[in-house]
Symmetry: C2
Subunit: 343 residues, 2 copies
């Protein structure tokens, strides 16, 4: 019986998550129950949002128990199936654990991956999975930009943010991104085709507001929010009447390592009749097949480019996870657990 | 030619507004231009939201110029009309100035008042005007509570808040209000029929959160927001998945006399897929006739009670305006400029 190397939570992180909060251990090979599938995981996704599940006091998600593995999306191959819709050999993406083999019941975010796709399997965790779908539904279904409107994106060099900006360009919008550091800002313009880029690092709320106004002289119609904090507050000051703020994440708050500043521009929500709306992509599951086809077409026609960072092996997962909060990551981050071409 | 006593802004208030920021002066009787009506104002409305227009730096409303009158809603009689839809003798409510006579062009919030109504004319500024319509569209069109859901209201003893709570009861919801002081809380229960009342004074965010949870054991589905600050933050912690937060006002922020605290529960917007939505009632103008009929029926059948505070004379306006921010006001506050029964 093979080993089943598994990343478990050893201690609850306080503030910034540390490598020592995790440990790789061997777990027994799971046995699928009725309705479940046993999956060999090839790739596992690392997302900033996973940080929330490591905390002890969370009212709406079940926190990861100490000594247990982190839940995350994986893509892999069905080895054994006790579910009528899946058979051994199917390629499948869904919510599993950060481990080599997981038995799980297919849920709303589980689906089969087309083995004939011309794109790499790992993309099912990124641009052709939760990342691309989050950008797609958040921008197009929640933000609903019209041609000619201005779209501002925070976390713009990240996996979701860079896809949002390019989709907004495809829809004929003016697009400005907020990112950390000159290299990421250069990339927004040169690689992702943004109309403008703002380096938020070391800036005050007032400086950010002035820079957004300068780059969005007609005001901001849609602000796609990944970050929170003073970036959100500055964006509120620049919104147009009737503006929309899809809230995808508030990454600046997850580790609570810096003192948050009070918001001073919340009144814009009333005065400019804004809609600030959280969303989770799976509530839009009905449009996934159509959205995935459209995203794949954009990629194959060169309209949508993306970066992927593949960490090699489960041991690399904790240090790689931390890069999501320090800004050292580069594109959609996944951990490779097995090589699909070798199996 | 009669005098036209007018309340003008003498100085821009810093922090809490002061009586000395205003002055009553005589202005010439206005002459209506083409498309305008000349109105003798019987009552003028005092609303917390007017405070925003007294500041100098406001991106979305035109601030009141120094030496000029405050714009507000009035109800009065048309003396002269150069607009095809109005004739002398019509009773009319609309946005005018805080003065005895105003010439203005009827806008989206201008309409004729039924002279046969069994309710007092001053109500056109309150429960049968902006106050009642704000409560109606904010709760029913933006918040959309379902029967059996829990509705939390801040500023619940105020003119809008008390109407919101009663309308939510009419729709079959559990209703809890936040108000300042035991007397207002008593009134929420005994006079307005709320299921629970929380006195926010002197409470921390954590205390408010615990009290909301105790009174809304099933969580909060709709939070009708008038106040902001830690009341908003505590409510965010108590919202149910898919909750809605119509943002009517953020009265705690208008004078910025207290240090705002950082928000710690904004992530609820993502994690619980909340919709936080500002609104202005006139964007729902199509439903006003229907809404006003329904509100009048609720009043006449005793299902909807309201309080009105009438300040006598334009000289009383500044001191009465200040009571809106100190919590000394009691119900919808209007200034009587002339007695309709004497004219």
């Amino acid at each position: 019986m093979p080993n089943n190397r598994t990343l478990i939570l050893r201690s609850r992180p306080e503030g910034m998550v540390k490598v020592e909060d995790f440990e790789v251990v061997d777990r027994p090979m799971p046995t699928p129950k009725d309705g479940e599938i046993l999956v060999q995981n090839y790739y596992a996704s690392l997302d900033p949002g996973l940080r929330k599940m490591l905390g002890a006091t969370d009212g709406y998600w079940i926190p990861t128990p100490l000594g247990e593995p982190m839940a995350t999306n994986t893509v892999g191959k069905v080895l054994e199936s006790r579910h009528p819709d899946y058979k051994p050999g199917d390629l499948v993406t869904g919510t599993a654990y950060l481990q080599e083999y997981t038995a799980y019941a297919p849920g709303p975010m589980t689906w089969k991956v087309d083995p004939a796709s011309r794109l790499s399997l790992s993309n099912s965790l990124g641009i052709l999975g939760a990342t691309g779908l989050t950008a797609y539904v958040g921008l197009l279904e929640v933000g609903r930009p019209l041609k000619g409107e201005s779209v501002l994106v925070s976390g713009a060099a990240g996996a979701v943010g860079s896809a949002v900006g390019q989709m907004a360009k495809i829809k004929g919008c003016r697009v400005v991104g907020l990112a950390g550091g000159p290299e990421k800002c250069r990339r927004l313009i040169e690689e992702f085709g943004f109309d403008g880029a703002i380096d938020y690092k070391g800036k005050t709320r007032e400086q950010l507001t002035a820079e957004i106004r300068a780059l969005c002289p007609q005001g901001v119609d849609v602000y796609f929010e990944n970050v929170g904090g003073i970036q959100l507050d500055a964006a509120l000051a620049c919104m147009n009447w009737g503006g929309r703020i899809p809230v995808c994440g508030l990454i600046s708050e997850y580790n609570q390592t810096i003192d948050a500043e009070p918001m001073v521009n919340l009144f814009s929500i009333v005065g400019k009749v804004l809609r600030v709306e959280g969303f989770l992509s799976f509530t839009f599951k009905d449009i996934f097949p159509c959205a995935l086809r459209e995203i794949e077409e954009w990629i194959l026609s060169g309209k949508l480019v993306y970066r992927e960072h593949i960490a090699d092996g489960i041991e690399a997962a904790p240090a790689t996870f931390i890069t999501l909060f320090t800004g050292q990551n580069d594109g959609k981050t996944v951990v490779k657990l097995a090589d699909p071409t070798q199996i």
